[in-house]
């Protein structure tokens, strides 16, 4: 423990309230655009508007787990506790977002596909991703020794990230149900109207701010816990 640097200071404490205000404001703008400004869909009608919640949450969950991976590498490489704080913060938010986008997807699936859930590749790989990162958080509870816990979590955080590209690419497998990517599609330009794309991008911006705000608060909480660990 003696080699470990003692954490000090908070993460972005001064600008955090402004980050929160910006996140809330952009969320309101994105919601109004998604509910009232974006046109209805020719095939699905209004129910497609769940896309403006489901898709940004899914992308941010991917990002959160990639950040768990990078922070895990950072911890094992440098032994700086800051990286462990980032990893746990991002994993918790990633699990939250994954849970939410699974629920949103389910609510979208019932009126369109006709089922709440089906054992389709995208859904199965996403469920595995959710369970793996819940497992990651449980694993962190198995040891009270800081370095041992951080090491185990980091190894798990590095291996688990493999499921992120698998989830993303699972829709390309033969004989699946979930629709293909709309924005990042192989065939070139996004397959939605420009006003829909703009709404999606504003939503993505809003959820990115929400993620950043949560990260800032959660990392600083973890740093405070780490500080208590070393001073008591």
């Amino acid at each position: 423990m003696t080699e470990t640097t003692i954490p000090r200071g908070n993460t972005l404490p001064r600008i955090r309230p402004w980050l929160g205000i910006a996140a809330a404001a952009s969320f309101v703008v994105a919601s109004v655009m998604a509910l009232f400004w974006a046109p209805t869909d020719a095939v699905q009608g209004d129910v497609y508007r769940i896309l403006y919640v489901h898709v940004p949450l899914a992308w941010l969950a991917y990002l959160a787990f990639v950040i768990v991976f990078l922070a895990s590498v950072g911890w094992l490489w440098t032994k700086r506790p800051f990286f462990d704080a980032v990893a746990v913060a991002s994993a918790e938010i990633g699990v939250l977002f994954t849970g939410l986008f699974l629920v949103a997807g389910s609510i979208w699936a019932k009126p369109t596909w006709g089922v709440w859930w089906t054992w389709e590749p995208r859904l199965v790989t996403t469920a595995i991703m959710f369970v793996m990162y819940v497992g990651y958080l449980l694993l962190r509870g198995l040891s009270t020794d800081f370095s041992r816990r951080a090491n185990r979590a980091a190894v798990f955080g590095i291996i688990a990230v493999i499921d992120v590209p698998i989830v993303h690419l699972s829709v390309l497998w033969a004989n699946s149900l979930h629709q293909l990517p709309t924005v990042l599609r192989a065939a070139g330009s996004p397959a939605l109207d420009s006003s829909m794309l703009l709404t999606l991008m504003v939503s993505l911006f809003a959820y990115t701010l929400i993620y950043t705000y949560f990260m800032s608060a959660r990392v600083s909480l973890e740093r405070a816990r780490q500080g208590r660990l070393w001073t008591t």
Binding site: I158, N175, L177, L192
Partner: protein, 145 residues
């Protein structure tokens, strides 16, 4: 205890190696192992027997679907095709509003002795294209019969 930075880096490299290994195995095997549904041709080739519970997927053949009035009735009929083999579906239970001729569908159930497929669950597939309805057009999800 792995207190030295060097030992941790060994751990890091080991973890990355396992990740690459798992990723490679997953990328090469999952895709061919994970079969959500069979196409009519695949079901025929595999000799799926009567009463065997499977999922069958394909396109709803144009002109084959029962009138929309019968949605939810005990025998809603349509044909699922993959272009070469057609299967007559007799579906019970709720029919999704998005089920349309020419669009994708997956059905759960089993073949019966006469070669028709009795579906207990119909799942409609939709594509990744979103667009505003053209002026005067009725959205497909509430198209009248």
């Amino acid at each position: 205890m792995l207190e030295r930075v060097g030992a941790r880096r060994v751990l890091l490299i080991a973890a990355l190696a396992v990740a690459v290994l798992v990723g490679t195995v997953a990328a090469t095997n999952l895709q061919s192992q994970a079969v959500y549904y069979l196409t009519p041709s695949e079901a025929k080739a595999q000799g799926v027997g009567a009463g065997q519970a499977i999922r069958l997927g394909g396109l709803v053949k144009t002109g084959s679907m029962s009138s929309a009035d019968l949605r939810g009735a005990s025998d809603f009929r349509f044909v699922i095709t993959d272009g070469s083999v057609d299967v007559q579906i007799v579906a019970t239970g709720a029919i999704p509003g998005l089920l349309r001729e020419g669009a994708g569908a997956v059905v759960e159930g089993a073949f019966v002795a006469d070669g028709t497929f009795h579906a207990t669950q119909v799942i409609a597939k939709h594509d990744e294209v979103y667009t505003a309805p053209k002026a005067g057009a009725t959205p497909a999800h509430r198209t009248a019969p």
